[in-house]
Subunit: 413 residues, 2 copies
Amino acid sequence: MISSPSLSAAQHLDTDWLDSLLSKLSQFGALDNGGVDRQALSATELDARAWLIDEARSLGCEIYTDSAANLFFRRPGRQDLPPVTTGSHIDTQPGGGNFDGCYGVLAGLACLKALNDAGITTERPVEVAIWTNEEGSRFAPGAMGSSVFTEPDTLAAFLNVTGEDGVTFAQALELHHQRFPGLAQRPNRDMAGFVELHIEQGPLLEHLELPLAVVSGIQGVRWYQVQCQGESAHAGTTPMALRQDAMQLARNVASAIEASTLNPGDDALRLTFGRWQVTPNAVNTIPSRASFTLDFRHPDPAVLAQFDARIAGLAGDRVSVAPLLSCEPVVFAPQINQVLNATAQALDIPCTGLLSGAFHDAMHLAGHCPTSMLFVPSHRGISHNPAEYTEPRALHTGARALAGALTELSDTI
Amino acid sequence: MISSPSLSAAQHLDTDWLDSLLSKLSQFGALDNGGVDRQALSATELDARAWLIDEARSLGCEIYTDSAANLFFRRPGRQDLPPVTTGSHIDTQPGGGNFDGCYGVLAGLACLKALNDAGITTERPVEVAIWTNEEGSRFAPGAMGSSVFTEPDTLAAFLNVTGEDGVTFAQALELHHQRFPGLAQRPNRDMAGFVELHIEQGPLLEHLELPLAVVSGIQGVRWYQVQCQGESAHAGTTPMALRQDAMQLARNVASAIEASTLNPGDDALRLTFGRWQVTPNAVNTIPSRASFTLDFRHPDPAVLAQFDARIAGLAGDRVSVAPLLSCEPVVFAPQINQVLNATAQALDIPCTGLLSGAFHDAMHLAGHCPTSMLFVPSHRGISHNPAEYTEPRALHTGARALAGALTELSDTI
């Protein structure tokens, strides 16, 4: 069971207002194809931030920023305790959709309005965060804002990161400061809990015909580059027995990895060979070099370690492997998920547990305070694409669950 | 047995002079890495042609050209009959070597000098041809010169072909005419026989430790483009069972083609998947499209037809196939090869029969007059590369065999 103020907050969620916020935000950087290009700290994103700051002020929020240009819209509670925070990001991929990140931020604002409309004063402050540069599309890597918030020492390494436009992250932060000179710094980094509401970016909820998931954690990830050597030679004159075809070797290595790794009984396992490069890549020349990337994901550190060992064992005369990325699995806070599940139950929202296969700002927050996520369905799992879509009904359901849960958490955590 | 003038011509071959010609030609378009860039009808190639015309004049040759700027250096015979012709090309790939084509032209000139030095007058004229644009690197397709010589109607379709420098083949022909305005047109297209001496561009002669091959024909070739469709999706969020990975499909299709086509007992068969393209080609995205090219070669029309049927049978919902090129096998003239083998035997040159896996101008000539080829070894089969190399000894052996064979043919064919 959840408290009656929590139920009331959910019931007061203004779905029309949420729809209008989504519609307005989609105009900042709108593309002709219905998608959006809103790069982190670009002029377009600063315009969107200015609009959102105005909306938050209208709701009576305190506005804060920090050294990574994260924004915090805080609705005060009865006590000046560390807040319960929600939020996500509003930067997008170059040809992105209108829900990835944006939905979590705007649903957060709709929760603050619901608390206003229901006349509720929570015990702790409730806060909406806009994390800077989650996509990593202008400045690599992604999730810089949440990384700096949770580990301020990481900022130094990001300052000289330069986007394709020649602008450094440091310069982009300075432009943000010039645009919003009056914003106060967040008084400290305290946070009682963090809940990120996001589109699933995968097909499972739609497949299960469920409107909501409580996320149990984020999969661990390994990226490798596998490179195979051969010898370039004429496709017509070189007998099959005298060839060293690098791409044939690469295909065989990929098949061997599939055979040793795939496990039809393991629903959590993900294995993708996404990027391939062949040299010289000519119709009538035997490939001299072929490389491919491996993206492997699993929630179990033991399975990840076993995979690492197997990949290391591939290296040989004609095969080399190089790690590109390694992220350990994240387990979200059970005490948060208990509240998320109770809220869904109280609101009669059918709900399942799910692992996140994608990265989110919540990944960094999980090391900072009790953290979890809620997912709503993504139509056909499509994301980072103008065709990204979630039915309004599911968007409303997710936002209601968030309103109830934030209220409940602010009083109980 | 071959005649004593044929033996005498072979014995008079001036190998030092041949070496000096190879060395001089390599300076036209020389690259720092030891290779050469001498594009068809470029200023560099015209300079090389001017030098070769002077050399041919010094040997007492009549010089002819034709509508495709092919050059013919003719040493008159006792009678004004159709000549026995040899030759090849002097254009190169952008990063080509110093033997592909060049060797055949210069060895031909060395044969004319050997006839002079031996004081031989042949029955028929003996002629050296320089075919225009064999490589197809400036103007596509290749072997334009020999194509137009054997089928003049093909010229019309080539005139508007434009190189990367914006120059059309017609303009390049006009520049050739301006550079060599005094050249007579070849009186007709008559030719009693054609023998092309060339480097193997494959590893077999070196592998067999033999200095010479009599070429029995040119393999038939099929080029196909196979395209596989999938669905782009997030590598982390999309369960294995819900994926349509285009590259996984492409790898499986390639393996199935290998399994059904490769035949370890068939030395003549060649199968190459040379060019691969993956979309969107990102580490963490399941490929939505993957395509690869097939290069299949075989001397037997029935095997080629069987392969065509098998490839056509691959097409389906998610797989499409498009033919890119189809060339029927060429069988060289037995009466020419009889003389080539007899000459090698008379000169004590160990020799084998070989199929050509690569295209040559002789492919077009074979439809015009009795035609064949001789191959000398290519070190490690390397060609179209600055590292292209044939030992001087093998170059000399090949040229001697050619001198003997041309003399024999001019008196007997």
